[in-house]
Every structure is written in C-alpha cells, then in structure tokens.
C-alpha cells in the first residue's frame, strides 16, 4: 500500500510554496489520463471520471469526484482528506470557494479545469500550473526512489514482453500478458504503446489485432508505476533474426541515446540533451527524421504522470537540476527499416545522472 508519509510530505511542500506565493487556495484537476496534479495534492490515483482537489496552506484537502465508483476507492486509498461525490464538480467547487471567502485562488492546470468552475468562481482563477509543475519536476529523495523502483519493474516487464512477442500472436495478446504480469506483481498502472511491422509503421498506438510476423520490428514503450510514480523503458525487438540493415540502423539509436544520457547533468538545459541526441542523427544524414513530421519528443519527464515535464526538445530551455527524473528516448522513424524505439529512465544527481533502467541496449532478436 502507499505510504501516507509521502503524501503528507508532498502536501507540506505545496503548502510552503502556496504560502510563499500568497495563494489562499490551490485547486488541482486530474483525470485518468493525467492525474499528477490531483495526485500530488490528494494522494488519489484517479481512474474514472474527473476530479478536483481543494487544498489550503494548512494542509487540509477536500476531494470532489464525479464517478460514484471512485468514491469507495478514494475513501479507502487515501488518508486524512475529505472525499465528496459530485455530479457537477465545477459548480460545486465554485460554491465551495465562495463559501470560504477566498481571495486568491490558483488552479492547476487551469486550462483543463471544468469550464463551469471558471464560469462560476467568485474570483478570477490564477494559473497555478507552473507553481505545481515546479514541485512535480523536482523530486524529493522518496519520490526519486519510487521512480527508480518503477524502472526496475519496467526492466522485468520488458523480459515478459520479449517472451510474449512471438510470431503469429496479435499485438493485444502480447500486451495482455504484460499487463497481467504487472497486476500479479501488484503494479496498479502502466502506460504502454506498441507497434509492429516495417517501414509502414510510423508511430506506436494501443494494441491492434495485427499479428507479429517474421522480420517485424516490434516496438514498445512500457511505463509501469509504483505508488503512482511512472518510469519508462523503450526497446525494439525483431521477430526472427535481425538483418544487417536493421542492426546498422539500430546502432545509430544506441549512439544517440548514449549521447543524450552523457549530456545530462545539473545546469544543462533540456534542449542540450535533445540536441545531443539529434546531432547524432544529423551526423548520419538523418536530420529530417528528428523533426515533428516523424517524432514527437526526444524524452520527457517522469513522475506522477507518464509524460510529464520537462519535454526533451531543442526548444525547451528548462534547466536540469538534481532530483529531476525523465526518460531519454531518441525514438523515431528510420527510412530503411521503420520506426525504432530505444530509451532509458534516469534521474539527475548532484554530479550527473543515475540511469535507472538496466535492460541491455541491444536490438533483441530470436538469436539474442
């Protein structure tokens, strides 16, 4: 079960930030896709519907949820918060704020709170997104350790993936085996995408009924969570034996991943890491394939959301600091063999980085 001390530690950290910023009330929004702001405040890993948590600097928290099935979970899986069922959370939280007579209210992320909240609030809501982003990105040692443990689980889950990814199996059966294995370990959540094929595959998606065939590149990003903290591994395998062309292409991704990881240390920018990865592709004449036409990000933050900040891109100038955790993944399309994925989770330390995932950086195949 989750440790309530970690939840209390997080709320205390936020309370300090709120007090320093002069915020009377923080309203955090979350749903089953992105629940990090809500989880940080309330300690509730929301699954269905959406929710708003109302936090005051004294640490008192009230959680509004619009899925009746989530109420039991919230009352049993959290401690010390006031859980309420509401079929109109925006209106009810607006009424709550008015009853408190609050003056300064920040919401995070403001863009995603229900429209009814901004329409009915008695004060103009301030955008508290950056304020919360800052505490989300800079992990405490306890949080850092949760991401480390999640990465260890990701390594083990990839072994299951490799064993499951056999010729003739549809993608969804492979994913079913991995998800089931994770449940058997007590892992409650996982974000996972998959792709299989050759040059026809341009991205990863939820599993389809496409069957794995000899020669396919099988790509996945596998992202289990431990106590709500996600870590990711990205790898590629070949059904059957890898060709020399596939091996040559993969070697570029190893070089790019190593260059990206080597760039990680306190004081550098997220853009520096992205540039280190992308320069490798440019050196090999593949610069076109690190643009948004072929790929999204060159890595991203990890924590209470599987795709959090900072995004590792050449135009993101967020400074890396000790305690930040993210995945470096130079995933992109290769015109000769198809989409390749390779990525490792790591944390920024005082002197550089600690790579959490330990799965060998090889193109796995039937001969491996």
């Amino acid at each position: 079960m989750k440790t309530t001390t970690l939840a209390a530690e997080r709320r205390a950290k936020l309370a300090t930030v709120m007090t320093a910023a002069g915020i009377d009330v923080l309203v955090a929004y979350g749903n089953g896709w992105q629940g990090d702001y809500l989880m940080y405040v309330s300690d509730f890993p929301i699954l269905e519907g959406h929710g708003l948590a109302v936090l005051t600097p004294d640490g008192a928290c009230r959680l509004y949820l619009d899925s009746a099935s989530e109420i039991d979970r919230a009352t049993s899986e959290t401690a010390g918060i006031d859980v309420r069922f509401s079929q109109q959370i925006g209106r009810d939280v607006a009424a709550d704020l008015k009853a408190r007579g609050t003056v300064r209210v920040a919401a995070a992320p403001l863009a995603f709170v229900p429209f009814a909240l901004v329409e009915n609030a008695h004060v103009t809501l301030e955008d508290g997104t950056l304020l919360v982003d800052d505490v989300l990105m800079h992990k405490t040692p306890a949080e850092f350790d949760r991401v480390r443990k999640a990465a260890q689980t990701a390594d083990k889950a990839y072994v299951i993936f490799r064993e499951a990814a056999r010729e003739g199996r549809p993608q969804y059966e492979v994913v079913a085996e991995v998800e089931s294995w994770l449940r058997a370990q007590g892992v409650a959540d996982n974000f996972m995408l998959i792709g299989s094929g050759g040059t026809d595959i341009r991205s990863v998606t939820p599993p389809s009924n496409r069957k794995l065939a000899t020669g396919d590149l099988v790509i996945t990003e596998l992202t289990p969570s431990i106590e709500g903290y996600f870590a990711q591994i990205c790898r590629t395998l070949v059904v059957g034996k890898a060709t020399d062309k596939q091996k040559r292409a993969f070697a570029i991704y190893i070089e790019a991943l190593e260059a990206g990881i080597a760039a990680v240390r306190p004081g550098v920018l997220a853009s520096d890491v992205a540039r280190a990865e992308n320069d490798v592709f440019r050196k090999h004449g593949l610069g076109e394939y690190v643009t948004s036409a072929y790929t999204r990000v060159r890595g991203h933050g990890l924590g209470l959301f599987a795709d959090s900040k900072p995004h590792i891109l050449e135009n993101v100038d967020i400074e890396l600091k000790p305690g930040m955790t993210f995945v470096v993944h130079p995933n992109t399309y290769n015109p000769e063999v198809g989409y390749i994925m390779l990525g490792d989770s790591l944390g920024v330390t005082e002197t550089g980085s600690e790579v959490f995932t330990q799965t060998p950086r090889v193109l796995f195949d039937g001969a491996a």
């Binding site: 269905e48 099935s69 863009a111 994913v175 998800e179």
Partner: protein, 346 residues
C-alpha cells in the same frame, strides 16, 4: 491509463449505424434549436464521441463538430502522425490537427456559422476551461446540449446491445478465471485482467475487496494482500466503446448457497427497474449507464443524492451489497429490460 484492443469493426459497427445515430442526434438538435453540436472527448470522457463516430482517444483530446447537415469534423490534439490510426478508427470525413483544440474548433465554427447561431456542447460544464472559453469567444449562443444528446441516445440500437452482450460475456469469463481456492489477491486480479484482455477487451479495470468481513469497499490493488473467507472482484470491461461492470463474490465453504441467494435477490431487484425499491434495501448500491461523455454515469445509488430517470429498457450496470445470513455479498451485472445481460453466476 491503460488500453487494450482498439479497432473499428465494420461488421459490428457498420457505417449505417453511425448514420442512424447522427440522424437521431440532428433530430434532437433541431428540437432543441441547436445549429451545431460540439462533443469533447478524452481518455476518461470518450463515450459521446465514440457513440457518434466510433473514435476513442488513447492519448490527448479531441472535439467533434456535428453540423445540422454535412460532414462531421474532428479537431484533434493528437500529432498528425496519428492520422492513419484515427482514420482507421473514426467515422468522420474531416480531420484537423492542432495542439490547442479550443481555438481551432472555434475557428471552424466561426467560418461555418451565421450570426445568431446556437452552438450546443455536450456536458458544457465539464469540458476543459480552455475549450469552453474558446467556444464562448465564437460569439454565438452557447448552450448545454447534454439533454439533446441523451434524448438522441436513449432509444438505443441493436449494435450497442450486441456490443454490451459481448462485453458482459468477457466480464463473466474474466471473473470465471479466478481460482476460487486461491489466497493471493494479486494473482486473482491478474487472472481477471489476463482473461479480459486476451479476449479482446478494449479496457479492463479490476477492483477487489480482498476480505469482505473487514471492508466491503472495492479498491485498485497495489501490493500484496491475502484473500479472506469471503472476497469479491469487480471486472469493469469495455468492448468497442461499450462499458459494463460485473462483480463476483467468493464465499469459501458456501454450503448455504449464500452467493446464489444474493444473486437471486439482485435478479429480483433488476426485474423491477427502473423502480428502485428493492435496491434501496441494500446498504450500498449503484446503477450506472452510458448517458453522455462518461462511459458509466451514476444515475441512482446509495451515494447519489438525486436519482435520475432512465428508461425501463436501458442498458445499465447494477451493483449492490447484499447481506445473507450475516455475510456480506457484493454482486453486480449489466442488465437490460429487467434481466441480466449475462448472469453473474459462477
């Protein structure tokens, strides 16, 4: 944030199904004096959009624009690289890609609508502030279109019933995979999840009450737990946009047929729906259905302050806590027309 098999089967959901649904939607729009409908979709609120065009987002968010006549437009925050996937799973002719769907949807509406037009938004209160504010900026009259949507959807159709029956079958098979003599709660959850996903479930959420004598609440298991003398698992299973819930309670050495009696009580309560008198005798109960954007929306229950009316023939998932001879039994199943879609008997 997990997903299983997502695909558009034109055998199970032919385009004609969507044509009929869109026509019903337009009829409801006309009755409500709505010129254009906007339905928002994301990971946890996909139901309205999937009913209209099959699309289910696994990532990010989209808005579907349904004009009075003509083609539907999907405005998607998914990267354009996702276009082939969206096209393969969506009945919509126009796909637009943008990181910020609010302003782009507003632009589409501004270009298409005459002055004085009315835009109806499904669950207007619940859409993200950025989307709601952008739509407000169009300058048209902005109204909530939830009632119009619920009206259009209320009559149901054979395709939806067929999908729900398949989902219920998946849930039953998944719960049947539990080793009733087992003691490891994680193994029980894993067995249910594996069975549901291997059958082709689009989503599978498994909740567990490992020891009903200690606590009847169903939770998402994280870490080891022992199964008690009586325990329950709930399978929430989605199949092609249709969600159902089923609960199985295992009572060890159930010589008195406790679970069977509870199942019979639930069947009797379901036979009376939409009357709720028998359910109200339970200390905890819940009736959910797909009304608008949530796949399973609470319409009545012990924790729901005001019960909402639902038709006698509606597809609903019903859950209840029933005490038999001093033993708490959690029982639940999808039902329609007063009978179980698939009986929760094991």
């Amino acid at each position: 944030m997990r997903r299983g098999l997502i695909e558009w089967s034109k055998t199970e959901l032919p385009e004609s199904v969507f044509d009929t649904r869109i026509a019903a939607m337009r009829q409801a729009m006309a009755a409500a004096k709505i010129d254009t409908l906007v339905a928002y979709t994301n990971f946890t609120r996909p139901s309205a959009v999937s009913w209209l065009c099959d699309f289910i987002p696994y990532w990010s968010e989209c808005a579907l624009v349904v004009p009075k006549a003509g083609a539907l437009t999907m405005v998607s925050a998914v990267s354009p690289r996702g276009k082939p996937w969206i096209e393969s799973t969506t009945y919509s002719e126009n796909l637009l890609f943008t990181p910020k769907i609010g302003p782009e949807t507003a632009r589409v509406l501004k270009e298409a609508l005459p002055s004085g037009a009315t835009i109806g938004v499904v669950e207007l209160d619940e859409v993200p502030a950025a989307v709601g504010l952008a739509l407000k900026g169009v300058g048209a009259t902005l109204v909530d279109a939830t009632d119009a949507f619920v009206t259009a959807r209320a009559s149901g159709d054979a395709a939806a019933t067929a999908l729900a029956t398949i989902a219920a079958g998946f849930a039953h098979k998944a719960l049947a995979a539990i080793d009733a003599n087992g003691t490891d709660a994680m193994a029980a959850v894993a067995a249910v999840d594996l069975a549901a996903r291997s059958l082709g479930a689009e989503e599978s959420y498994v909740a567990i009450a490992p020891d009903l004598r200690a606590d009847r609440r169903l939770l998402r298991l994280e870490g080891p737990a022992k199964l008690g003398a009586a325990y329950a698992l709930r399978a929430t299973v989605a199949y092609k946009g249709t969600w159902v819930r089923m609960i199985r309670t295992v009572v060890r050495n159930d010589t008195g047929g406790i679970v069977q009696k509870a199942t019979a009580q639930l069947a009797a309560a379901i036979a009376e729906l939409p009357k709720l008198d028998k359910l109200r005798t339970s200390d905890w109960w819940l009736v959910e259905t797909a009304r608008a954007a949530q796949p399973l929306d609470a319409v009545a229950g012990s924790a729901v302050p005001t019960a909402e009316a639902f038709p006698a023939g509606a597809l609903v998932s019903v859950q209840a806590s029933i005490t038999i001879d001093g033993t708490t039994v959690l029982i639940g199943a999808p039902s329609m027309g007063g009978a179980f879609l698939v009986a929760p008997s094991f």
